[in-house]
C-alpha cells in the first residue's frame, strides 16, 4: 500500500449548505412557521439522511419514517435550537437517536455472531483491489451501529471528532474509543489494513 504524504488526500467537511444559511431557514420556521423554508431545509437533508440511515442498516421501509420523525422534531422544536452546535449536528443527532429506536423496534442485531461467509468473497479474483473492497464492505457491515456511525460521520460526512461526539451525544473519548475498536475490527477482516501481507485464510 503506497504511503501518501500527511498533507495529501485530506478534504474539508462536505458541507454543501452553509450553517448560516440553514440557520436563517430555521429562524423563519421558528418565527413564522414558514413552509417554504421548511421544505428547503428538508430537501437539504433528505438524501444525506436517507443514505446515512441505509448504511446504519435501517430498513428501507423505515427510512422515510425516521427522516420525517426527525423533521417533525425540527418543525416543532425549531425555536428551542440554541445554536451551541452546528445545525447539521443537531439534525443528524436527532436522526441518529430516531434510527436507534427504529432498529430496536425492528429487533435488528447490528453485530452478527455468525462467521463470515467467506464463499461470498471472490478471494480468487485477479483484481486485488476489488477483493479488498468486498472484504471492507463485509467488515463495515459487521460493526456495531455505534461504531459504524462514528466511522461514517468521520469519513463519509467529514465531521471532526468534537462534532461526532455532539451528534452521538457522548464524550469525545468515547468517539475515539469507538473508532479505535472499529479500526481493529476492520483489520481482522482485511489484514492489509494492519500492514500485513495478504493471505485471508
Amino acid at each position: 500500500m503506497a504511503l501518501q504524504s500527511v498533507d495529501s488526500n485530506t478534504r474539508a467537511a462536505p458541507a454543501p449548505h452553509t450553517d448560516s444559511t440553514e440557520r436563517e431557514l430555521l429562524e423563519r420556521i421558528a418565527r413564522s412557521k414558514d413552509q417554504a423554508a421548511f421544505r428547503t431545509l428538508y430537501g437539504n437533508y433528505y438524501q444525506r439522511l436517507s443514505r446515512l440511515l441505509a448504511r446504519m442498516s435501517v430498513r428501507r421501509e423505515d427510512i422515510e419514517e425516521v427522516v420525517n420523525d426527525t423533521f417533525w422534531v425540527v418543525w416543532t422544536k425549531a425555536s428551542e435550537f440554541r445554536g451551541a452546535s452546528q445545525l447539521s449536528t443537531w439534525i443528524i443527532g436527532i436522526a441518529y437517536r430516531r434510527a436507534l429506536n427504529a432498529l430496536r423496534r425492528a429487533k435488528l442485531r447490528p453485530v452478527s455472531d455468525e462467521p463470515f461467509d467467506e464463499d461470498s468473497v471472490s478471494v480468487g479474483s485477479s483484481e486485488e483491489e476489488e477483493t479488498n473492497t468486498q472484504w471492507l464492505s463485509l467488515g463495515l457491515e459487521r460493526l456495531p451501529v455505534e461504531q459504524r456511525m462514528a466511522l461514517e460521520l468521520t469519513y463519509t460526512l467529514g465531521h471532526s471528532c468534537e462534532e461526532v461526539a455532539a451528534i452521538l451525544d457522548c464524550p469525545v473519548n468515547t468517539v475515539k474509543t469507538r473508532l479505535f475498536r472499529a479500526r481493529e475490527t476492520l483489520k481482522q477482516v482485511l489484514p492489509e489494513l494492519a500492514g500485513m501481507s495478504g493471505e485471508k485464510s
Partner: protein, 226 residues
Amino acid sequence: MSPRIPDTHAEAWALLPWLANGRIAPEDREWVEAHVQTCAECRAELAAQRMVASHVTREEADSPPQAGSDEQRSFNKLWARIEAAESASIPITGTGAAVGTTRSSRTVRWLAAAVVVQALGLGVLGMSLKNNGAMPASDDFRTRAQEEPRLNAPAVRIVFAPSASIDSVNTLLENQGLSIVAGPGSQGNFTAELSPDAVASGASAESVATVMKKDPNVTLAEPVQQ
C-alpha cells in the same frame, strides 16, 4: 499558556482518522503530523485509514440517490401529518392562544386552496373533454387514481403549491400553452398537455417542465414519458 504537546504514540494513534479526513483540531495537527513523520507504525495506520475513508466515500458516491419524486412524496406525507396535528390542536371555542389561531387560519387557507385547485382541475378537465366532444359516460368518469391518461400531445405532470391561487394557476397554464387533461391524482398531481400552437413554437414537455419548476406556484413538474 503554551499549548499542550502530548506527543505520545497512543494519543496520536487515536487522532489519525481526523488527520485522514482533514478535520483534526488545529491545535493537534502540528504535533500529530510531527509524530507521524517519525513513527512508521502511525504512517502505515494513516495510509490504512485513508484507504478506509476512500472506500466508504466511494460507497456513498455509488449508492443510488432517492428519486426527487420520493422526496416530494415523503415531504407531502410529513406536511399532511403536521397539518393534521395542528388542526387537531385548534381550540374549539374562540379564545385560544394566538399561535393556535394563526395556525388554524393557515390550515384553513391551505385546505381551501387545495380544494380550489382540485375543483379547478376538475373544471378544466370537464371543459376540455366537453370541447373535444369526448365527455365520457358517467360510469367511465374517473379523476382520482387515474393511472395514466391517454395523451395526444407532449404532457407534463404538475403538483401545484398549496398556496397557488386560481388566477395564478390559470395564468401559468395559459402562458405555457397547457390544458389539464387529468387529475387530481392521489398525490394531488395533474396531467396537462401542450397545445398544438405551443408545440409548433418549439415547446417540449421537458422545456415546459423546466420553466414550471421555477414557478413558486408549482411544487413539482416533470415531463410525462409517452
